[in-house]
């Protein structure tokens, strides 16, 4: 089914359907991840592949237009290039260990230690979280930085002047017709925010964590923005403040590392954060997950605001 969807995307010329299909594709791959036991990944892929990225694409489309102009021609050179790459992967597949084999090298060397000892060393049941936050905590720091970088990039590309004082555009006034949607969403937003907090702090025990929570949190705000208009959303959440929060998240993460360095450990060594290493690990993980959550939520909101800001801007030009 994944393949079918992908082909559909390749063939279709209406960008709207393409994005819709890509959202379905995201859901499908998330399903696949669940069957492969990768619950955390499925969680993220659902939020990203089926949620945030199609949303952003839709917004873009509202700005750049919906249809591809040029009829598609099969490009021979591209086909050849792709075939070469495919063939290379084919070659790679030949000698791969069989799928699911427990004695494959990938399962042998490093991973068993995580599975067997993270319970004692880190003390939380979700191994993915413990690997993510402590063993490979620096990767996650890099990941937060990537998100932050993207936020900075989008901001610098799409930054518009101070629009807060502008009157509501016609596009936003039209939103008032959605009475039912508005009421339902109003009821739902509070539980969604609560759920985000639950995901944030439950990440130690079940699937979830800072990134997913951040995305959900941002999603709630995005729904609000879509239904009540950008300006009223900006009144609730000040954009400059969001900017600061994006930076604060990264700094929070870094601060944990610096504190552990000051306490005599290596960078991001949570053992030294408290007298008992296990407690130290707990504190460390909670704080860095919080840092991740804050940055992700802030950057996502920031990105959406920037995109929507452009949309509203265009509305002004049209009038």
């Amino acid at each position: 089914m994944l393949i079918a969807t992908a082909i559909g995307i390749a063939v279709n010329r209406d960008l709207l359907s393409v994005v819709m299909l890509s959202s379905i594709y995201g859901l499908l791959s998330a399903n696949f991840f669940v069957t492969m036991d990768a619950v955390d990944v499925a969680f993220t892929e659902a939020a990203v592949g089926a949620g945030i990225s199609p949303l952003l694409m839709f917004t873009t489309m509202a700005i750049v237009g919906r249809y591809e102009k040029l009829p598609h021609r099969w490009s021979l050179s591209a086909l050849v290039l792709v075939s070469i790459t495919g063939a290379l992967l084919l070659v790679a597949t030949m000698d791969m260990p069989a799928f699911g084999a427990p004695d494959a090298p990938a399962q042998q060397h490093v991973a068993p230690r995580y599975i067997e000892q993270s319970g004692q060393e880190v003390g939380i049941p979700n191994i993915v979280t413990s690997v993510l936050a402590t063993y490979r905590g620096f990767d996650t720091f890099g990941e937060v930085t990537v998100i932050f970088t993207a936020g900075v990039g989008v901001l610098s590309l799409l930054m518009v002047g101070d629009r807060a004082t502008k009157p509501l555009s016609s596009h936003l006034l039209k939103a008032s017709q959605h009475k039912i949607l508005r009421i339902v969403s109003k009821v739902l937003i509070a539980p969604i925010l609560l759920f985000a907090l639950y995901v944030q702090f439950h990440g130690d025990y079940g699937p979830g964590g800072g990134f997913q929570a951040g995305v959900i949190f941002a999603a709630a705000i995005i729904v609000y923005t879509m239904l009540f208009g950008l300006d009223s959303a900006r009144q609730v959440i000040d954009q400059a403040w969001v900017r600061v929060m994006a930076a604060v998240g990264v700094l929070l993460y870094g601060a944990v590392g610096v504190v552990s360095m000051v306490n005599g450990g290596n960078f991001l060594d949570y053992d030294v954060l408290a007298k008992d290493p296990l407690h130290g690990q707990h504190y460390g993980i909670i704080v860095i997950e919080l840092g991740v959550g804050i940055t992700v939520a802030a950057v996502m909101v920031l990105i959406y605001f920037s995109f929507a800001g452009r949309l509203v801007d265009r509305g002004h030009q049209d009038d």
Partner: protein, 491 residues
């Protein structure tokens, strides 16, 4: 604190970036970035000294020992490159204040410096880490900030260049990701040294071969090696001048470093030697790059673009050295890394000064520049001479070592071709010199010399070009040892 140097090197700019965003004002942001960059340079000097005296340092992040946690592993090679990147960033940053003020919209200048710091942190992160996946993460940090920096150029073509680079860069990064994934499947580890130990066991499998191919192609996309170089000239030509100077001096160097690291440390020199055609392929591609790019450079109207093409050509030289596979060849490549950073820094910075005063870097607009901006023109000429490889400049040293290395391997046609390639460089530099020195400036032009704050770092680079061309002790000895260590490590 000394034991924490490796990590401080990276997290200092990394944490400075968000703080910079909070600071807000461009002037403050510039000062702050400059201070950070200078501190990073200081750290890298200390690191180089430490490694030089005591041998490789490794640092376990989070206190987890190597194959389980992420390790930072500093040996001579990356200590040397860390120094190049951080010092070039500092010098260029010192001179960018005016040029950024002129080329970037006021409300975006703070973001510009934030991206700069992120880019610096990303590049340093790639260099310092000893973990294959960590490389990918920091590669993306540096790439994303690079796309942003390029897109801040004034011309709308900058946007297009940035988009092209984004697509190509992401494909490259994804290829590297596939390669790392395949390696992980075969060995179960991500740590580079651990990989180096475990790969030989499975080296005969086709999966490892494919992993190698994916990683190399991915890195070469980033590196802008000849057939994959199409994104580079646009990106360099339309980015803000300061960014071009920074990127040209550092970003490709880091990609070359990755190529060296993966082919020599991770896969081991033996693995590379197993596939003899690969080495010859490198040499061939390098030569083609030198010639085609130099020829295209001669035809360019915009000097910035011409020098960008010359970057592609210079990367060709580095790849030739790499393809030789001998210690001497490797040393030549490393030397050229260092020297190329110096000369491209100088050239692009002088162009930045020109762009600042003239608002253009088109060849026709530069007529008689030597009378209006004598110091800048002089700096450009010296940088150009270094690029050609005239004795007493750094360019000469690296060409010299490269030619010696090829002769050692008995490849005299390659040596001849390298020398012919240098002649091509003479041609595109001469065109500029002719216009600048032997044409009268248009009477109406009211251009004055570039401000001191730009000239000072520019001339610092030029002097470095000459100083290291005469006193070669430091880079030569460091690179010699680094090359030895690389070849020894695999065995």
């Amino acid at each position: 604190m000394l034991s924490h140097l490796p990590i401080l090197q990276v997290i200092l700019p990394l944490l400075a970036a968000p703080s910079c965003l909070i600071l807000g004002r461009p002037a403050l942001a510039w000062g702050f970035s400059f201070a950070t960059s200078a501190a990073a340079m200081l750290i890298s000097m200390l690191l180089l000294q430490q490694v030089w005296l005591e041998g490789p340092i490794s640092y376990f992040l989070g206190g987890w020992e190597a194959p389980w946690g992420i390790e930072y592993c500093i040996d001579l090679l990356n200590a040397f490159l860390l120094l190049i990147v951080s010092s070039l960033s500092t010098v260029v940053l010192a001179g960018t204040r005016q040029s950024v003020a002129a080329e970037v919209e006021p409300n975006k200048q703070t973001l510009f410096y934030v991206s700069w710091l992120l880019c610096l942190a990303g590049l340093l992160g790639i260099l310092a880490t000893g973990d294959a996946f960590n490389v990918f993460v920091f590669l993306e940090v540096s790439s994303l900030s690079t796309y942003t920096l390029i897109s801040l150029g004034r011309d709308r073509k900058a946007l297009w260049a940035s988009y092209q680079y984004l697509i190509v860069g992401t494909i490259g990064a994804t290829f590297i990701l596939i390669g790392i994934g395949l390696m992980y499947m075969m060995t179960g580890t991500l740590n580079m040294q651990d990989l180096a130990q475990r790969l030989p066991v499975v080296a005969d499998t086709r999966t490892v071969f494919a992993a190698y191919a994916f990683v190399i192609v991915g890195v070469c996309l980033k590196l802008a090696l000849f057939p994959l170089h199409l994104w580079l000239p646009n990106a360099y030509a339309y980015a803000p001048s300061a960014v071009t100077a920074f990127l040209a001096a550092t970003a490709t160097k880091v990609a070359v470093y990755l190529l060296i690291r993966f082919s020599f440390t991770v896969f081991g020199a033996d693995f590379g030697a197993m596939d003899i055609p690969l080495h010859q392929l490198f040499i061939a591609l390098g030569l083609i790059a030198v010639f085609s790019a130099s020829l295209v450079a001669i035809l360019q109207i915009d000097i910035k673009r011409a020098i960008a093409y010359s970057s592609v050509a210079q990367i060709g030289y580095m790849i030739i050295g790499l393809g030789l596979g001998s210690a001497a060849g490797l040393q030549a490549t490393l030397l050229h890394l260092f020297n190329h950073a110096l000369m491209k820094g100088a050239l692009f910075m002088s162009l930045a000064a020109v762009a600042l005063r003239m608002g253009s870097t088109r060849l026709d607009d530069l007529a008689g520049l030597s009378q209006r901006m004598p110091l800048t023109a002089m700096a450009f000429v010296l940088g150009g001479l270094s690029l050609i490889g005239v004795p007493l400049t750094v360019g000469f040293i690296s060409k010299w070592y490269l030619v010696i290395a090829t002769l050692e391997m008995g490849m005299w046609p390659v040596a001849v071709l390298i020398l012919v390639g240098s002649l091509l460089a003479v041609m595109y530099i001469w065109r500029v010199v002719e216009v600048m020195y032997f044409r009268d400036p248009p009477a109406s032009s009211q251009v004055s010399e570039a401000p001191v704050s730009v000239l000072l770092p520019l001339w610092l680079l030029v002097v470095a070009n000459i100083y290291f061309g005469i006193d070669t002790a430091l880079p030569v000895s460091v690179t010699a040892d680094a090359a030895q260590a690389l070849l020894g490590w695999g065995k």
